[in-house]
Symmetry: C2
Subunit: 483 residues, 2 copies
Amino acid sequence: MHLVAIGGSDAGISAALRARELDPSADVTVVVADAYPNFSICGIPYYVSGEVGHWRNLAHRTSADLEATGMRLRLDTFVTDIDVAGRRVLVREPDGGRSSIEYDELVVGTGALPVRPPIAGLDELGAQDGVHLLHSMGDTFALTESLDRIRPRKALIVGAGYVGLEMAEGLTARGIEVTQVEMLPEVLPTVDPELGALVHAELDRHGVRVHTRTTVTRIRRTGQDEHGKGSGRLHVEGTGQHGEPLGWDVDLVLVVVGVRPDTDLLVRAGAQTGPRGAVSVDETMATGLPHVWAAGDCAVTHHRLLGTTYLPLGTTAHKQGRVAGENALGGATRYAGSLGTQVVKVFDLVAARTGLREHEAVSAGYRPGTSQSSPDDHKAYYPGAQPISIRVTGDLDTGRLLGAQLVGARGTETAKRVDTYAAALFHAMTVDGMSELDLSYTPPLGSPWDAVQMASQAWVREHQLPPQQVALATSLPSSLARP
Amino acid sequence: MHLVAIGGSDAGISAALRARELDPSADVTVVVADAYPNFSICGIPYYVSGEVGHWRNLAHRTSADLEATGMRLRLDTFVTDIDVAGRRVLVREPDGGRSSIEYDELVVGTGALPVRPPIAGLDELGAQDGVHLLHSMGDTFALTESLDRIRPRKALIVGAGYVGLEMAEGLTARGIEVTQVEMLPEVLPTVDPELGALVHAELDRHGVRVHTRTTVTRIRRTGQDEHGKGSGRLHVEGTGQHGEPLGWDVDLVLVVVGVRPDTDLLVRAGAQTGPRGAVSVDETMATGLPHVWAAGDCAVTHHRLLGTTYLPLGTTAHKQGRVAGENALGGATRYAGSLGTQVVKVFDLVAARTGLREHEAVSAGYRPGTSQSSPDDHKAYYPGAQPISIRVTGDLDTGRLLGAQLVGARGTETAKRVDTYAAALFHAMTVDGMSELDLSYTPPLGSPWDAVQMASQAWVREHQLPPQQVALATSLPSSLARP
């Protein structure tokens, strides 16, 4: 039994680890296109910021750790083709030579590629000009090399999603004046603008110049690098929220506007694709091609509330890879599905979400309602209490919890409070039912009804308890009668 | 419709609030034996420590807040009897006069009383001597008066449960040298001694002199208060872990060894009792006496894994009170049951638990196994990562999660990580199934598999994945096949 995994990031490594865990006799090879297996892509902003001392620390496990589990690593080895009928992958070796690797089962975890937005000049400019995309360790080294060489005073970041925000913080931490440009109406567009506005304010507070509803249209070199380092080497043009032309002179541009699935190999091998062009897999992570599984950012995502979608996240890649590794060995497990649970730290603020927002819920056929409240993280009498802004979305017809979004200061346990909503969503609880959960309480860290329950109770009061419905105590609405 | 609640603490107030929320036309009266309705008993240690500036801040809501909801408060009014047949309670008014209050429905939330251990001298000594029990606001004022008057240099605390530990921290914060005596083998006996030992070390680190397996047998006055304040007014005798006699000269003694249900009123009215003598209620919080409900620390606790038990907690009192208030109005809701979720902060450490420990699981008919692991709270490459010590208990026959105990530094989101286990327990998940939960991740605050999942995976590896069972990949153990 020879299991081959393509890709050294979360999905491929998780598949390999799971296979070795379940069957120490399984022969497992991971083919890695670069020299950085099992690196934490999510950690890149903290290396760029200087918080992670050495890039090697970004590895979840070292190559030696991985090999100690009994798997074989083929680094700097690029898979050029999958020969499904021949059960082998064709590869380009580190020295450029061609060969092939036979497999019994194949797990493909080729991941994603950074999206290149239609900005004039982007294709012509590159790292040597201080214009960067950021996704791989290679991109990371190119960026840090630019930072060391150019010593930019000013940088412009295109995009204010997770990575864009983390990089705004990271470059600010390096003393660089950051301008952040987001096409959508508010930063962190994965949460409602009411909460995105809190993140926006946090960026303002730390000196990031934020432009929302603004599109970057062109980047060009100014030639000013002759006159000294970091003094406006690049001119960026854009269009502001009222259609007005905008321009910025900066020393570095970072374009981080999301990713698209890297499906080239699988599509050429005959795999079907689904949402956003990601490779179709069923919940066992089977591609439909015999003995070929796929997992992680290259594949579609099964969402417990949305069905099949595309939602590339590291947590999902770990889970999908683990399922693929188990099933490739003959197991019969299924990926239980994503809820899109995410969290980001932006300076001293933490923003998290799980499940659906209203517009997503409408698309999925629900009739959603949302309430916002701001319960304290712990009892107000104990020093340091801070409000957490929580938006709860539920289905008005069934009372079912559909999603939650939270923004709180660091130290308010916001990141793990979203997990309670995620667990409630996993089990299809009603919003009202959340009050039944037996959650922990001590005055320095919580409340007798935890903040997540106070927020769910606020939803119930707003959407299920209009006084006229409950004027007669003897005829309580059925939504209150729990099964 | 006139709802009367006896007791101004969590259960009584929660019942009254729920009734007013559901039916603004309901006439609601809360009879409170003292002048402190809706005070946070759990906050008392933080008032004694000086962290809460004014005792009034300990109120969850002020009397004005409560009255603004439309409920009536009868303060300093002591219920002497329940006349079940006459549907009225007999009361002693603040001025000593007697009267009665008629009700349609009655919710009894008389709470608990502090246990007085069999220590010679305890009954003769009191606040004037610097010997205190601590449960009510009255006890709190007596203690703070003693602290101000005696200005103790040394204090001895009998008991190292939640309140004992919080008071050890609180008195230490006031500059008092604290000796803490616990009869059982380790402090915080509600968690396994492996984790209690971590709390013990934290106490040591902060100068608390801890004696475990030690019993206090006698307290007497030394008469030394003639010679100056705070110089050994009391002599405490005890028996050490090897049976050796021990003695301590201190200025103040605090006895906090737990509580017992205050059931006098209900028992005299004919209510049945259950575990630990608490008043029997069904899951609707009905006592069996017509139109009489009970909730909170005076009543038994329905536990989702143990059945009927006694487990007095503020969170439970809130939930039970809310159920009682709803049902007293004619609702048909049930208390979903406790999991015994608890958390305590001890100096810079947080200790939490939910569900069962091994010996409790055995009593409940399970065949438990426990694993301990120490995953980091977040990715090690990001500064400040700290291990959380997690003990996971699961049923070896079914793989079902039975409980979890966690000890981590403050800042590791340990308090809300226990909630994920609590939610998993609520839904009867397997330990293995926890890996399916879609939990949040960002490197500064978590890991792709959250710490709670790494700990559950450690349990699975130890108890469900011996290599010989999985040598053949095509015959995976059934425990891995998820429904």
